[in-house]
Amino acid sequence: MNLADWIVLLGTLVGIAAYGAWRTRHIRSLSTYLRGSASTGWGTIGLSVMATQASAITFLSIPGQGFESGIGFVQNYFGLPLALIIVCAVFLPMYRRLNVYTAYEFLGQRFDEKTRLLGAGLFLLQRGLAAGVTIYAPAIIISTVLGWRLDLVIVFTGLLVIVYTVTGGSEAVALTHKWQMTMISAGMVTALIVLLLRLPDGLGFTGAAHVAGALGKLQAVDFSLDPSRRYTVWTGVFGGLFLSLSYFGTDQSQVQRYIGGASIREGRLGLMFNAVLKIPMQFVILLIGALLFVFYQFAPHPVFFNQAEWRRHAQDGKFAVLEARHAGALAQSQSAIRAWLEARASDDPARETRARAAMVAANDRAGSIRAEARAAIAAADPRAKTKDSDYVFITFILTELPHGTIGLLIAVMFAAALSSKAAELAALGTTTTIDLWRHFRPLAAADEHRNMQVARRFTAMWGLVAVAFALFAGFAENLIEAINILGSIFYGVLLGLFLVAFFLRRVGGSAVFFAAVAAQALVIVMYFSLNIGYLWYNIIGCAACIAFSLVLQKVLPPRARADEVRAG
């Protein structure tokens, strides 16, 4: 990075953070602090919802996923548009009507206080743990780029987001989201254009897409019914529907983005904006990863993309041999790809078939050497991080982009990290204040100034907790999956609580509470004992919570049901 990169990086990051803090420094209203301005339009809400979901992990791990496994991960988002329609039609009107600060207040009004605390607790547990992972992702970039200590970068990033989130609350989060998403979009479009321009002469987008497709990177949809497959249309539509419904309907970090605003119309249009754009956006990010795979078939690249880890262990001759073998295999793979492209243009199907088989075999050889490199690192240090796909995109940025745009793309990673982090902190602080602190201090609820002070303190506290977790997040091999797995374990049950609340009008508080506890225990036991795609746990947790609720409602003793009547 040179001076221009530093100016772009620090100018955008600190500028946006300072803008958010300065614009919201005089907020005195608890409603504005926790829900954002009452005049927010649908555009800001839509961008804020998008920025909350698009963390730095999105721009690090997902291109890496496209590079390593292809673009099939896009199926994960197939349930999202359907979920957002349900949120618009059912969840949002209810939250607006009850004028709640958090989604879990609704559980308290519908059931009882213990169910509200359970819902808030599941959210705080899941989101509190995930918050550490989201702050860890950009710290990897900076530590790789600058050679700084990872822990110092984590602390610096954490403090930056804590400052403006604590100052302006939800209003500062929405204001900064708008500019952060604008910068992220500009940065990713720039990266895609540079990548296309850097492809070998004569290949172009279509040629690169054909190469990527022939090497198995462009299977966007898979209709297989095999439950052990992680990404299929079915896991995406059904598992993804439940995951998205849980995330957008019951996760306070998202609910807080759309329950404010000028009217219910603004919230609905903001959500529909995401329903339309999310799948195309994820497709483009994954496609960047698949095109990077083709680009690196023709450009020299390390056998292991996490070069810091590689240099730490590559002390003896066998690592040098692996590097030399990888370079040789890459040259063979290049020749095989060119031969296949020629065969393809020759209109000779038999020749094309032979050339394709040779190309796939050459690519497999290069892939197996990369696997050997990972095994060599693991043998040298069993605790070493052996998955390097998160480093592919950042390697491209640092080595191929012109100066100035390097700073922009690094700023994109940071902006994405700050945007999701800020929404999480605001949500964690709000939930802790409204659902926990007020529960134990009911007399303090009327004191708006004190509520603001407490919300600020809890937001700062969660920021510090997230920083502490991030310092220990190094064990997470693939960041995006780590977060999704964590979400799938807890979100299903949380969604079950809300679906019972909305649709099973005869089920009461005690039945749903014990049902949720049992369903959560079941999901955790199944996760550690079965080998099925993790998205299924969203459905299992939700279905178990609903089924157990219905059964318990029938078998609970009359006295427990009487408690529910009082709770109502």
């Binding site: 009107p93 799948i279 508080g509």
Partner: protein, 50 residues
Amino acid sequence: MTLAPGPDERADSEPPDIPGFRTWGGLYLFVFGWFVLVLVLLTAFTAIFS
């Protein structure tokens, strides 16, 4: 027994105020149709390039 509150009828009486869409149901149908179109396009993309 605590009953779930009913749907907010006022929410649906407020129109989307977007040209071509008079009801929220129409807008939801459009978004669903968009999703189906994206699914078809991705299936075609897979067939062409795989």
